[in-house]
Amino acid sequence: MTTRTAPHGAALASDGRPAQPAIAASGLRKRYGDREVLAGVDLDIPPGQVFALLGPNGAGKTTLIRILTTLTGPDAGTAAVLGHDLVRAPARVRKLISVTGQYASVDEELTGMENLVMIGRLLGRRKRAAAERAEELLAEFDLADAAKRRVGLYSGGMRRRLDLAAGLIDAPPVIFLDEPTTGMDTRSRGALWNVVARLASQGRTVFLTTQYLEEADALADRIAVLDRGAIVASGSAAELKRRVGTESIELVLDDGTVVRETTDGDPERLREVLNRYHREGRAVRTYAVKTPTLDDAFLTLTGHAATTEESPR
């Protein structure tokens, strides 16, 4: 009960760890026909964390979100949101979550204001209270000017923001974002990143899926890499990068050749490398320190490159 209304200060057990994971799953499996979409997924996400599920198209990200948001049941395994089992108590879970999908599920015939008021009314608010909350959220999501415009006339980015706002009417502690920035331009993406950062600062748990490595890098406290239905690695962005190797220095020599020397980040090693080239009489024109990117990490961890192509649907 501690976490239900107080996402900010989730209760801590005696060992200092959060008493109740925001999202927990063990052995989740899902099969569509003879295609195994999820092949045993375990999760343990503490409250207040931004968790990114990174994976290429078809890795099973959307299926996992659909299970975690009660839309579909797993074939095997269990999962719980703030201690409430998804299969046994879906109604409980639905009070604690909100979901923003890849396809903004707002009503195009209605205005932004009408959309939010409608959702507020559905959640049991009175007309006045629903309207007040709608106005708050429209202002917060920079949609106040478009409040009275039909959503059919909104841009893609505006729709996503409205969709997200619709999910926040009852201020749920756990928020799912399924590829929130897929298909967005850079500016809208930046605006949405700010929103995620704000939600995190309010102590909410954010579970987001993405195929963009830099998005996971920028937003997430913890990243799990999902590939062919299984989590192949997880950790902070820094940890994942470390698993790939240490940093390296790239030297461009006077004759134009490029060489790479691995280092461990120690300046002494840099001095040693440069001295060696000096001794050998090979002049160094420029140098650059390279840290492994998440792209490198992805390639190493999955054996194939991350795709950043648009979703085909």
Partner: protein
């Protein structure tokens, strides 16, 4: 947070949709009126003798059903859009009864089509329709129309849920537009081709049309009314069960 308030919210939403889609609303009135004008003014003189009386009196109940069915068919595309565009999915992750959205579409369809059917009837009066129903019979006409719209809307809802694309959802409008031609809406059953006679004489549309005709002329036939009522109840129940099943099945995907 019970089902009722949610259903009211959804009904209001569907009514707003109808009012914003004036094109569809106007089409739902204009198409039947155009068909009626065609039959009454172009073929009317020839058909007066066929039906043994003023053709406007004969044809109006059928045109009203055509209007009601055509308008109710819009529910198929509306529901298909809600399911395919993710709106229903959002509702399913909320602590509410998502099926209320279907209720909203159905109830709004009944309201909308009662209005458009009344509009068609007013045009019919201008064209010479002279009903002689008593007040009680008028209530019977309204009730029968409402029941017909309800049943037809439920069938449209099931169709919309089963449809794989917008186009196949929209096909229901064609069925609604042509089904009345296979009944006694425009021509008495004995004047229809032999192979159609059997079907046309017993299909539910004919029974509802004959019931409306009887009520409008002040001489309802109890047996026909009863048969129409049984048909509507059976079809309505079947369509409601089918709609519920399809709505649940759509969730499992």
């Amino acid at each position: 947070m019970t089902a009722l308030p949610a259903s009211i919210v959804f009904t209001r939403r569907s009514v707003v949709h109808s009012l914003r889609n004036l094109d569809s609303l106007v089409t739902a009135i204009v198409a039947p009126v155009a068909i009626m004008l065609l039959f009454v003014t172009v073929f009317g003189a020839a058909l007066d003798t066929t039906v043994g009386g003023a053709y406007a009196d004969y044809v109006t109940p059928g045109v009203m059903l055509l209007c009601a069915g055509f308008g109710a068919a819009l529910t198929a595309t509306a529901i298909h859009a809600d399911v395919s565009k993710g709106f229903v999915e959002r509702l399913r992750t909320m602590p509410i009864r998502a099926s209320g959205v279907i209720f909203g579409h159905v109830f709004a369809s009944v309201l909308r089509n009662l209005v458009s059917t009344a509009a068609v009837m007013l045009v019919a009066v201008a064209l010479g329709f002279r009903p002689t129903a008593s007040p009680a019979q008028w209530i019977g006409i309204a009730g029968l129309l409402a029941a017909y719209i309800l049943v037809f809307t439920l069938i449209a809802a099931a169709w919309g849920l089963a449809a794989k694309s917008v186009d196949s959802a929209g096909m229901f409008s064609f069925i609604a537009l042509f089904l009345p031609y296979l009944s006694t809406a425009f021509i008495p059953v004995e004047r229809l081709p032999d192979f159609l006679e059997g079907f046309a004489a017993h299909q539910p549309l004919t029974l509802v049309i004959e019931s409306l005709r009887g009520l409008a002329t002040g001489e309802p036939d109890t047996a026909t009314l009863l048969r129409a009522g049984i048909w509507l109840a059976a079809l309505g129940l079947a369509a409601a069960i089918l709609t519920t099943t399809l709505f649940r099945r759509a969730a499992k995907r």
